[in-house]
C-alpha cells in the first residue's frame, strides 16, 4: 500500500509543479540566470542588479502606473533548464517579457521557444547566432544588450594592432565554449586583415587547468602578444603559467578578465599587471556613484562584478520598452525593444540604441582597461566597433 501511495504521490507531484496562481495586478517580468553552478557568482550579481533596478523603478511609481514583479529563476548552466525556466515564467507566472542569461548556449536553446511563445527575451549572451541564427534572418523575440562576441574580438584586435603596435599574435581558445571560440575567431580574422600575423592558434579542450603544454608551444613561436578570450579563472591560470615558463608578452583578454577573480587566478597583481581587457562599463566614472551607493545600501557589500550592471540595465531597457509600448502586451513590448533608441543606460557610452536588423546594439562602445600594478583598472580608451 505504502508503495502504491508513493506512486500516486509521484504522479501528483507533476501536477503540483504547475500549481501557482498569479493575480495579474503587477507587471510580471521574468529573469533567468545562473544561481547555482560554476557561474553562479555572475548570476547572483546579475540578479542583484536586476532586483535593484526593479526596486528603484517601483519606488518611483512603477511602469504605466503599475508595479513590476520580478521573478528570478535558476538555469544551473544547462540549456534544457533554461528552456524550462522560460516556459515556467511565461506559462505559469504570465511574464510579459524576460531578461537575462549570460550563457550563449542557453539563449540559443531559448530563442526558438521564444519564437513560438512570442514573449521577448533580452539578455547578455554575446554569441551573434543567438539573435541572428543565419545571415539575413533574425530571431524576432530575442535581443542582445551588449556588443556581440564578434565585435568584442574585433575591437581587441584593432586595439592591439593599431594602438599598441603589436604584430605577432598567439591565440588560445577554449574549444568547448562558444564565448571563447567566437571571440578568438573574430580576433584572428581582424588581426590578419589589418596586416598582423597569427603565429599560433590553439584550441584546447574544456576543463583544462594546466596550460603549460600549450604555452611551451606558443613560446617557441615567440609572439609579441597573446589573446586570451577566457573566463577569469582560465585566463588567470594561463597568464600565471606563462610567467612561470618565462613567457612575458603583452596580454589582451576578454571582458571576463575584468573580474577581481582574474587577479587571484593569476596568483597576484604582480602577474596580472599590464593585462589589457575589454569592459563596456567604467566603474570609475562618476555617473556610477549613485549606483554603487544604492547597491551597497541594499546588499551591504560592494559590487562584485560588472554583471550587476547587466542585470540592472536589462531591467531599465525592459521598463523603457513597456513604457513606450503603452500596454502590457508581449508583442507590443517586442516592437518597442526593437526600436530602442538613445535610452540611458550605465554600460557603454551611456546611450543604448537597438539595431532592428540584428537585434544587437548599434555602435555600443567598450572601454579598454589595463590592470595597473596597484590593482586598479586604468581606462586606456573608449573603442567603438566597426559596423
Amino acid at each position: 500500500m505504502k508503495r502504491i501511495a508513493l506512486l500516486l504521490i509521484c504522479t501528483l507531484l507533476i501536477g503540483v509543479v504547475s500549481f501557482s496562481a498569479s493575480a495579474a495586478d503587477p507587471i510580471v517580468v521574468g529573469f533567468i540566470t545562473a544561481l547555482t553552478g560554476s557561474t553562479s557568482l555572475w548570476g547572483t550579481q546579475e540578479r542583484n542588479g536586476a532586483v535593484l533596478a526593479a526596486d528603484e523603478i517601483n519606488a518611483k511609481g512603477g511602469v504605466l502606473g503599475r508595479q513590476i514583479k520580478l521573478i528570478v529563476y535558476d538555469h544551473k548552466g544547462q540549456p534544457a533548464e533554461g528552456v524550462s525556466a522560460y516556459r515556467r515564467l511565461v506559462d505559469q507566472d504570465k511574464a510579459v517579457v524576460v531578461g537575462g542569461t549570460h550563457f550563449s548556449n542557453i539563449s540559443l536553446a531559448i530563442a526558438p521557444v521564444a519564437e513560438q511563445k512570442r514573449v521577448p527575451i533580452i539578455g547578455q549572451a554575446i554569441e551573434p547566432k543567438v539573435t541572428v541564427p543565419e545571415p539575413g534572418k533574425v530571431n524576432r523575440y530575442t535581443f542582445l544588450a551588449q556588443p556581440s562576441s564578434a565585435q568584442q574580438g574585433q575591437m581587441m584586435a584593432r586595439f592591439g594592432y593599431e594602438n599598441l603596435g603589436l604584430r605577432k599574435a598567439a591565440v588560445l581558445a577554449d574549444k568547448s565554449n562558444s564565448y571563447s571560440t567566437s571571440q578568438a575567431e573574430a580576433f584572428a580574422e581582424t588581426f590578419k586583415a589589418l596586416g598582423g600575423e597569427v603565429v599560433s592558434y590553439i584550441e584546447y579542450a574544456g576543463g583544462t587547468m594546466d596550460f603549460k603544454a600549450f604555452i611551451t608551444q606558443i613560446k617557441s613561436k615567440s609572439p609579441d602578444v597573446m589573446f586570451l578570450p577566457q573566463y577569469a579563472q582560465a585566463g588567470g591560470l594561463q597568464v600565471r603559467q606563462s610567467k612561470e615558463l618565462g613567457l612575458n608578452v603583452t596580454i589582451l583578454g576578454s571582458n571576463s578578465l575584468s573580474d577581481q577573480n582574474y587577479i587571484d587566478a593569476c596568483g597576484g597583481i604582480q602577474n596580472a599587471a599590464g593585462t589589457y581587457h575589454l569592459f563596456n562599463v567604467n566603474f570609475d566614472d562618476p555617473k556610477f556613484a549613485p549606483f554603487h551607493k544604492a547597491y551597497e545600501a541594499k546588499y551591504g557589500e560592494p559590487v562584485q562584478t560588472y554583471h550587476t550592471v547587466f542585470g540592472y540595465d536589462d531591467i531599465y531597457l525592459i521598463a523603457d520598452a513597456i513604457t513606450r509600448a503603452g500596454k502590457v502586451d508581449p508583442e507590443a513590448i517586442r516592437d518597442a525593444l526593437e526600436t530602442i533608441k538613445g535610452v540611458p543606460v550605465l554600460a557603454g557610452d551611456g546611450m543604448f540604441t537597438m539595431n532592428p536588423a540584428t537585434h544587437q546594439p548599434v555602435s555600443m562602445p567598450s572601454w579598454i582597461f589595463r590592470w595597473a600594478a596597484d590593482g586598479s583598472r586604468v581606462p586606456e580608451r573608449l573603442i567603438y566597433p566597426v559596423e
Partner: protein, 290 residues
C-alpha cells in the same frame, strides 16, 4: 621543447599520483570507488585557503591544519554513510552512490558559500620559477613533487611498518579474515578514511596553490580513479605510476597530437593499455580475491 614538455607532464603527473594513492586506499579495502574523495579535495583547498586568509597564518601551517580537518571530515562521511549502510546489511555498492551524492552536495555547498567565486591564497607560496639551462621549473611544481614524495614515503612507512598498516593490508585482502584475527574492522575502515582524507586534503590544498581555489576543484577525482585503475588495482605503487603516466600522456598528446581532443585521445590510449595489460601497469597476475 620536448624536455620542457616532459617536465610539464611530470609536474601534472606527480599531482595525479598523490590523488590516486589516497583514492586507492579506500578502493582497496572496499573494492568500490569513493567519490567523496573529490569532496575532500575541495574541502582541503577551501579550508586551507580560509585559514590562510582569515587567520592570517603562513600557507604551510594552513595546509597542515586543513589536512587534519579533511581527515576528520572523511572519517565523518564514513560514519554517517558507510557505517549506517553496513549496519543495515548494505555494503559498498550503496556507498558508491552515497559517496557520489556527498561529492555533489559538498560541491553545491561550496558553490553556495563561495558563490562560484575563484580565489587564490593571500600571500605567494612557492611562487616563481628556477631554470636549468633552457628548462623552466616553477617552484610550485618542484615543491609538489617533493611533497608528493614525502607523503608517499610517510604513507608507505605507515602501511608497511605499523600495526595499523598491517591491519589495512589484511583487510584489503579479506574483511572477514581480518575480523577473525580480532581486527576491529569499523575502526580500520574509519582509519583508512581518515588517512585517505588527509591525502585528499594535501592534494586539494596544493591544487589550490597551483591553480586556484574553486568549488569544482574536486572534479580531479575522476583522474584519480583513472590513475588508480591504469596502475593496477590494489597496488599503491601502481597508483603512483598510473598518475605519472596520465600526466605525461596528457601533456604530450596536447603538445604533439591534438589539443582540442586531448582528453578523449588520452583516455583512448589508456583503454588500449588496459586491453593489452588487463592487470594494470604494476598489477601482478595474482589470483582473484574471494
Amino acid at each position: 621543447m620536448l624536455f620542457q614538455q616532459i617536465v610539464n607532464g611530470i609536474s601534472v603527473g606527480s599531482m595525479y599520483a598523490l590523488l590516486a594513492v589516497g583514492f586507492s586506499l579506500v578502493y582497496n579495502i572496499l573494492g568500490i570507488a569513493n567519490f567523496s574523495h573529490g569532496a575532500m579535495i575541495a574541502l582541503g583547498a577551501f579550508f586551507s585557503y580560509w585559514i590562510a586568509r582569515y587567520l592570517a597564518v603562513p600557507v604551510p601551517v594552513a595546509i597542515l591544519a586543513s589536512i587534519a580537518f579533511t581527515g576528520l571530515s572523511s572519517a565523518l562521511v564514513e560514519l554517517v554513510t558507510l557505517r549506517i549502510l553496513r549496519k543495515r546489511g548494505q555494503g559498498s555498492l550503496y556507498f558508491f552512490i552515497a559517496s557520489l551524492t556527498v561529492f555533489n552536495l559538498v560541491t553545491a555547498v561550496l558553490v553556495y558559500i563561495s558563490r562560484g567565486n575563484i580565489v587564490s591564497y593571500p600571500r605567494a607560496f612557492l611562487s616563481g620559477t628556477f631554470t636549468i639551462g633552457n628548462l623552466y621549473i616553477p617552484w610550485i611544481d618542484a615543491g609538489m613533487l617533493l611533497i608528493s614524495i614525502v607523503c608517499l614515503a610517510v604513507l608507505s612507512y605507515v602501511m608497511f611498518k605499523t600495526r595499523f598498516g598491517l591491519a589495512v593490508r589484511a583487510a584489503s585482502f579479506s574483511i572477514k579474515a581480518a575480523q577473525l584475527m580480532g581486527m576491529d574492522i569499523d575502526a580500520i575502515i574509519q582509519g583508512v578514511f581518515f588517512v585517505s582524507g588527509t591525502l585528499a586534503g594535501v592534494t586539494g590544498a596544493l591544487l589550490g596553490v597551483k591553480y586556484a581555489v574553486y568549488p569544482y576543484i574536486g572534479n580531479f577525482v575522476y583522474m584519480a580513479l583513472f590513475a588508480c585503475v591504469v596502475g593496477g588495482l590494489g597496488n599503491l605503487t601502481g597508483a603512483v605510476l598510473g598518475g605519472l603516466l596520465i600526466g605525461l600522456l596528457e601533456t604530450l598528446v596536447s603538445a604533439y597530437i591534438s589539443s582540442a581532443i586531448s582528453p578523449a585521445l588520452t583516455f583512448a590510449f589508456l583503454v588500449v593499455i588496459l586491453l593489452l595489460r588487463p592487470q594494470g601497469l604494476a598489477g601482478r597476475a595474482t589470483e582473484e580475491k574471494i
